[in-house]
């Protein structure tokens, strides 16, 4: 079966499930006794096993399978959810995430088998198995009636009559001799079962855990090809009792009925004696063959997926939003017809009405499309609780992460980029912010440190705050470090405001941490955060109070595709400057331009502002200028100001950013292009590169 068409669905769902698993595991760690959480985890592991098995990701299926065994034991109260066990389950989760990443990137799950984890999982079960045996013997005594009933039912199933060939009978007889049980097991699947072969695969796996399948009716190949109705019968040689089978198979979803009957000796009529050697030989032979065919299958599977190297980026969209979009498009079509009808008539009023109507629709359409691109910040946030948990453990601190506003939505492109900066900030808070338990108690704070991660919408911005109740930023320490590193002169440092000093934190390779931990302190943090956020068109602010904690505030634009821009003329060409980076516009006379170290500057309220002559830099063909006055657009790059000399201003406008295309992707100074109302193209200036 070619599964590649389901690959994307598989990846999406797996990610969702892994996320759920992550959350549930965290909950389990908090409440080890909570059975509902445990059931949830079990359900997820089970689903993952089924899904990965169906897709041919055998290693993933194996791991989830062993995980499931442990979870089953947990559910049956045979083992306890110790922190060691939860750690192990987290390890499984990491391994599964790794598999998923491999599948996303290459279409195959990769070669890592995580044998150590699997072994640990199995060890955990081994420990409980002694107790398990005890239970089994208990239960087997209780249910003879079940067995009798099953025997009765057996006659109603035509497939239950199963014929063993000589070799199989031989094996069965040998088993009997060795005091093993031979069961005939008939499984009836639910009529609604969609992936019968996958379901059967799981059942077979379950069976093989307990014993060996020596015969199946219909044949294994037919079952794999789904060439059977909803039931099949197998003969299984095992040491276990019938109850184990009934219980385990009934535990599998979509199984309607399981009938386990011991094979009577009469059925195993003594065949001609054969040497043990041949039977063993044949046995290994068939096994080898089976393994071979399995291998082949997985190989062909990977082969078909190799072409599809990377899966595309997708956004899940609420159907309601698509409906809105659809409605708007139909309105657009109506408007088009209306405009077509207007052609030739001189009725200005109707014409204006139609244009207004059109304007309304395009605005709504724009909003609707924007909404489609929006995804909740939860997508990024949901990996943080785990991260904080791990960090807290590493540092031996107690930290609680509170997240609010996870449903706040941001553009998909922003969401993809915002993860790393947030990780930096959270790590910072956990490592530098929150003090050790002892110190906190000493200071009269609760032992558990709190980090609040808040997201909310504020006008056209989305604000994300990372707040901790730790020690706050030590302004003196930062100041001294800045002086030490030669970033500022001592005399000047003392006149700086708190805000100016905090800004040093955002300088490249600036770290106040005396020791480097593996969490932070290398000084590659905050400047990267700032650069990234600014690339996204946002800003970072810091509020801090010594001993009380600090707060990092990130403001991000809702979307990157549409911005407010200032349109200017340079020579005869139109350029757009993002309004977010313009500060003010001033008029100057040529005399006001002074020279400082070969750089043209002006004085703006006692601040020296360097001047950038856009016409020179952009090599605009010269035009004759009649005016004596010059217009300067003051832009800010970070905190620094620059003045862009332009010829005239056109005005403020909402523009749609478009890329210049692959051919011109490396062009300096230009951040993109936009299409103006008259259909002409205006280039958008890259303020960060142009400013001096």
């Amino acid at each position: 079966m070619d599964m590649s068409q389901y690959l994307e669905i598989f990846i999406d769902e797996t990610k969702e499930h892994l996320q759920g698993l992550n959350q549930s595991l965290l909950q389990l760690e908090q409440n080890p006794e909570d059975t509902s959480v445990l059931n949830e985890i079990f359900r997820v592991a089970h689903t993952l096993k089924g899904m990965s098995g169906t897709m041919g990701f055998t290693k993933m299926a194996k791991l989830t399978h062993d995980m499931e065994n442990v979870l089953q034991a947990l559910r049956n109260n045979q083992i306890k959810a110790t922190s060691k066990l939860v750690d192990l389950l987290f390890k499984c989760l990491d391994a599964l995430e790794n598999y998923t990443d491999n599948i996303v990137n290459s279409g195959s799950e990769g070669s890592n088998e995580y044998n150590d984890i699997i072994m640990e999982l199995n060890n955990t079960i081994q420990m409980k198995s002694s107790a398990d045996v005890q239970q089994k013997t208990d239960s087997s005594g209780k249910k003879p009636s079940d067995l009798a009933e099953a025997l009765k039912e057996q006659n109603q199933h035509p497939t239950a009559a199963i014929k063993l060939n000589q070799y199989e009978q031989n094996v069965a007889n040998k088993a009997k001799e060795m005091n093993m049980n031979v069961f005939k097991i008939t499984v009836v699947l639910n009529k609604g079962c969609v992936l019968k072969s996958a379901r059967t695969f799981i059942i077979f796996q379950t069976l093989e855990r307990h014993g060996e399948i020596i015969k199946s009716e219909p044949k294994v190949e037919d079952i794999e090809d789904e060439k059977f109705d909803f039931e099949f019968t197998v003969v299984c040689v095992t040491k276990e009792s019938a109850e184990v089978f009934t219980r385990d198979i009934n535990g599998i979803a979509e199984v309607d009925e399981v009938i386990v009957v011991p094979m009577e000796t009469a059925e195993l009529k003594t065949p001609a004696e054969q040497s043990e050697d041949t039977s063993v030989e044949e046995n290994t032979h068939t096994e080898g063959e089976e393994a071979h065919s399995h291998e082949e299958k997985s190989e062909s599977n990977t082969a078909s997926q190799v072409h599809k190297t990377k899966t595309g980026k997708t956004v899940r969209v609420d159907i309601d939003r698509l409906d809105v979009l659809m409605n708007l498009v139909s309105e657009l079509i109506i408007i088009k017809t209306r405009l077509a009808c207007l052609n030739g008539t001189e009725n200005t009023q109707t014409y204006n009405e139609t244009i207004e109507y059109l304007e309304r629709i395009t605005t709504s359409l724009n909003d609707a499309v924007m909404k489609v691109r929006m995804v909740p910040v939860e997508m990024v946030f949901n990996r943080f609780p785990r991260m904080i948990r791990d960090i807290a453990r590493d540092l031996g601190k107690e930290i609680q992460l509170n997240m609010t506003g996870v449903e706040t939505e941001l553009d998909r492109t922003v969401i993809d980029e915002i993860g790393d900066p947030l990780i930096h900030l959270l790590r910072n808070s956990a490592d530098h912010g929150i003090e050790s338990k002892e110190k906190r108690l000493e200071m009269g704070k609760p032992a558990v440190g709190h980090i609040n991660l808040r997201a909310y919408q504020d006008g056209d911005n989305v604000v994300i705050e990372v707040e901790d109740d730790g020690q706050g930023i030590n302004i003196e320490k930062v100041k001294n470090k800045a002086i030490e590193r030669g970033l500022v002169k001592k005399e000047i440092a003392n006149t700086l405001s708190q805000k100016d000093i905090i800004d040093f934190l955002f300088k490249p390779s600036f770290s106040t941490s005396d020791s480097i931990t593996n969490i932070s302190g290398r000084g590659v943090g905050l400047d990267v955060v700032k650069t990234k956020i600014e690339q996204l068109g946002g800003i970072v602010e810091v509020e801090t109070e010594a001993g009380k904690g600090s707060k990092f505030i990130i403001r991000l634009p809702l979307t990157l595709a549409i911005i407010q821009a200032l349109l200017v003329m340079v020579g005869n060409e139109k350029y757009a400057i993002p309004l977010s980076s313009t500060k003010e516009i001033i008029k100057i006379t040529p005399e006001q331009i002074k020279m400082v170290q070969k750089q043209e500057v002006i004085l703006l309220r006692n601040t020296v502002v360097p001047i950038v002559r856009l016409d020179k830099i952009l090599e605009v063909p010269p035009v004759e200028r009649t005016k004596k006055d010059m217009t300067v657009v003051i832009v800010k790059k970070g905190e620094k100001l620059s003045g862009f000399l332009v010829d005239s201003l056109i005005g403020q406008q909402e523009i749609v950013i478009k890329s210049l295309g692959k051919l011109l992707s490396g062009v300096k100074w230009i951040a993109g292009a936009t299409i103006l109302g008259d259909g002409n193209v205006a280039l958008i200036l890259d303020v960060n590169l142009l400013a001096v």
């Binding site: 090599e619 210049l660 051919l663 011109l664």
Partner: protein, 154 residues
């Protein structure tokens, strides 16, 4: 049989630069547009005329005359922009006139050895002959090759 013939013939869009005929693989041609104003992009090689707005898409346009170091000519009613798509790169080239679509068989295409030392030689991968016409076939791969030093402009 029919299929085999098709496999051996390829269709080429033939355009003119001055009096010379050039051919482009039709598979790479998206549309052919009338001339429209382009916005100059600073810091690009001079043969990049700029970017145009083609029904909402921003598309860079190349002046092949400049690229091939041919003398510039006045734009006429016949001037066209051929929009090409090649390896995910979309761009347009300005040509004097678009002629027709020609079927060329493999045999009628001749590899060019050095019969000129022209700059434009780099961009040519063969010469097709139909009757007494000679069509120079362009190599798009080379055409989209904007060197880094070119791009810097200085």
């Amino acid at each position: 049989m029919e299929e085999r013939i098709n496999a051996e013939t390829k269709q080429y869009v033939v355009f003119k630069l001055g009096r010379e005929d050039y051919g482009l693989d039709i598979q790479k041609v998206t549309t052919i547009e009338r001339m429209m104003p382009a916005a100059r992009v600073p810091k690009t090689p001079d043969y990049i005329r700029g970017v145009i707005n083609l029904r909402g898409e921003i598309i860079p346009v190349m002046d092949v005359r400049k690229k091939f170091e041919l003398p510039p000519v006045e734009e006429t009613d016949e001037t066209r922009i051929i929009i090409l798509k090649f390896d995910d790169i979309v761009f347009g080239i300005i040509v004097d006139e678009v002629d027709e679509v020609l079927d060329l068989t493999e045999e009628s295409i001749e590899n060019v050895s050095s019969f000129t030392n022209d700059v434009s030689m780099d961009y040519i991968y063969g010469v097709g002959k139909v009757g007494d016409r000679i069509v120079t076939l362009l190599n798009l791969e080379k055409l989209t090759d904007i060197d880094d030093e070119d791009k810097q402009g200085d």
